[in-house]
């Protein structure tokens, strides 16, 4: 008979204990800094937050005053991105989910979407500069920035919207058709309304990303300092992420707490949108009719 050399249960359990401990430590190593970062920014930036900070204009070469124009600029950019990107995204998502058959062209569309998602943000900035700012002569403007950001956010919107629509049970569509409704009527009356919370969540998350992006607006929309708020889409604008970049790298003697304050405001915007998306998602789960 062979003498098989099996490891003892005891030694294997010891290995497991060590292994579990190491993984736990690594996981903690990952998570603790995250919490530390957020808390740190909160603590350091809190002192800078005041009514004047949020509603005032920068003074003394950014070293004092407020960040109001940056906040407004970010708001305009986000709004513009939503306006351009949402209709196209929902259309593409409807096409992929409801109309397209799985053929070669559909594969190509999906590859195109994956690629749009992977293009580095600075390359988008380059593209936006070349096409919108220079070729179409929009100049450094909110319009150019929004158009650039919208193409960038297309993939996120499309994939979340498509998934939301696919999760609507097929049986609804079959029943609707059997009652004499056309495909578009079925989409409009049943599929889209049922997918709406999922689509909304995706929109919030996508816009959340657009809020924090600097590179795409670097050459297309962002201005260092504007004495007044932009009053047309063809004006350049200040924006929160760009403002943070500028004051932390290009303004000597910049008070640290104002830098933290700007970072905090940006972070609050993003966390706020995150929470909003989570609320929409859990509300939708309760309301679901299937």
């Amino acid at each position: 008979m062979f003498k098989v050399n099996l490891s003892t249960p005891q030694s294997r359990l010891t290995i497991q204990k060590i292994g579990y401990l190491s993984l736990t430590l690594i996981a903690i190593l990952t998570v603790v800094p995250i919490i530390a970062i957020v808390v740190h920014i909160f603590i350091q930036g809190f002192s800078a937050i005041s009514w004047e900070f949020l509603t005032g204009f920068p003074k003394d070469g950014m070293r004092a005053g407020g960040i109001f124009p940056a906040i407004v600029g970010t708001f305009y950019l986000t709004l513009g991105t939503a306006i351009f990107s949402i209709p196209i995204s929902i259309g593409a998502a409807v096409y992929l989910s409801e109309y397209a058959s799985e053929n070669r062209w559909t594969q190509i569309i999906r590859i195109a979407i994956i690629n749009l998602a992977g293009i580095p943000s600075v390359v988008y900035g380059l593209f936006g500069l070349g096409l919108f700012v220079i070729f179409l002569q929009f100049g450094t403007s909110i319009l150019a920035g929004c158009l650039t950001l919208s193409i960038m956010t297309l993939p996120i919107f499309i994939s979340t919207a498509e998934e939301a629509m696919r999760s609507v049970p097929q049986s609804f569509r079959v029943v609707s058709i059997s009652l004499g409704a056309s495909q578009w009527q079925t989409i409009r009356r049943i599929v889209l309304p049922q997918a709406q919370p999922g689509i909304l969540t995706g929109v919030i998350l996508g816009l959340e990303r657009a809020v924090g992006e600097t590179a795409p607006i670097l050459f297309t929309a962002a201005a260092f300092f504007l004495p007044q708020l932009p009053n047309s889409p063809f004006d350049a604008t200040m924006a929160l992420p760009y403002h943070l970049f500028v004051i932390s790298t290009q303004v000597p003697g910049m008070p640290v707490n104002l830098q933290y304050g700007t970072a905090l405001v940006l972070l609050l915007f993003i966390l706020g949108m995150n929470i909003l998306a989570t609320l929409v998602r859990s509300h939708a789960r309760k309301q679901r009719q299937w």
């Binding site: 359990l13 998570v31 957020v38 259309g91 499309i158 970049f245």
Partner: protein
């Protein structure tokens, strides 16, 4: 009988189809624009100069080698940190941690993913870089290493969440079979679960790398922006310059249509192609896995 409803529905359907195909149009548009503005580089800059190791546009030196290497160094550094840490964290979240802990960890990692690159860059300048400078006794804390650490932090959420999904998708029955044969949980994880999820995990790695290569603001703020060649391991602790930072930093100062302008677009093409290759490979891996699963299940 041609009802007006039929007509409007016809138009709407056509528009929807158009938006679907618009995605292809956008990709092609971006590529051709980059190509159009970047191609003159081949004419204007002699190839030998292009691959030289001096990037000093003001005096006509357009060697992109230091930039390529800069990006490579930072990416490799970030990946070396992010992949093991990311995988271990994903395994912890998916296989080991109790439910309540998982419900804290997953959102926490997601929050990290939401932090904008400029905020991390800012923290890099204010906190990490001075700390490293003192700790490692360097002339400046802005280095490839600093960049790598922050980029690792940025790609971590991508790697963790995709790998976690992949691990989660491994059927219960695989784990149960292994345990029934007397293996410990630990052995099961490494011998059964992780290999079963390997294509998803690989995808996670690739997408994490893709994110790292394409990152701009963080690297521009903390890597020191010195286009020098990498000389030996210790150079990791000294400034470098990535392709992305180069574009971001210099684009504002170039004259439209100049050589410098064209070569920045040229670098953009390189970045575009890198991301293209990574993303298509990643999705091909996923696609092949789906086909395999379909064959098994059919």
């Amino acid at each position: 009988m041609f009802k007006s409803r039929d007509w409007s529905e016809f138009v709407i359907t056509r528009i929807i189809k158009l938006t679907g195909y618009s995605t292809i149009i956008f990709v092609v548009l971006i590529f051709f624009f980059l190509l159009n503005e970047g191609f003159p580089t081949f004419i204007e800059v002699p190839f030998a100069s292009l691959i030289s190791d001096r990037w000093y546009p003001i005096e006509g030196y357009y060697g992109i080698l230091p930039l390529l290497i800069g990006s490579l160094v930072v990416t490799v550094g970030a990946t070396t940190i992010a992949i093991p840490v990311g995988l271990c964290t994903a395994i912890f979240i998916s296989e080991i941690s109790p439910r309540w802990l998982r419900d804290i960890l997953k959102p926490a990692v997601e929050i990290l993913g939401g932090i904008p690159s400029v905020v991390l860059g800012f923290l890099g300048i204010i906190v990490l870089s001075p700390y490293l400078r003192v700790l490692l006794n360097l002339p400046t804390g802005l280095s490839a290493f600093t960049g790598a650490v922050l980029l690792a932090a940025m790609s971590l959420p991508t790697i963790v969440s995709i790998a976690d999904d992949a691990l989660d998708a491994v059927p219960r029955s695989y784990r149960n079979a292994s345990l029934a044969l007397g293996a410990t949980d630990w052995q099961t994880i490494w011998n059964v679960t992780v290999p079963a999820a390997r294509s998803g995990i690989l995808t996670a790695f690739m997408l994490g790398i893709g994110r790292t290569i394409g990152e701009t603001m963080t690297v521009m703020m903390v890597t020191g922006n010195a286009p020098v060649l990498f000389k030996g391991f210790l150079s990791f602790l000294y400034p470098v310059r990535t392709m992305t930072a180069t574009i971001a930093a210099e684009m504002g100062e170039v004259a439209t249509g100049s050589i410098h302008y064209h070569i920045l677009f040229f670098i953009g093409i390189i970045l575009f192609l890198f991301s293209l290759v990574i993303n298509i490979t990643a999705s091909a891996v996923v696609f092949r896995q789906h086909k395999k699963v379909e064959k098994i299940l059919s």
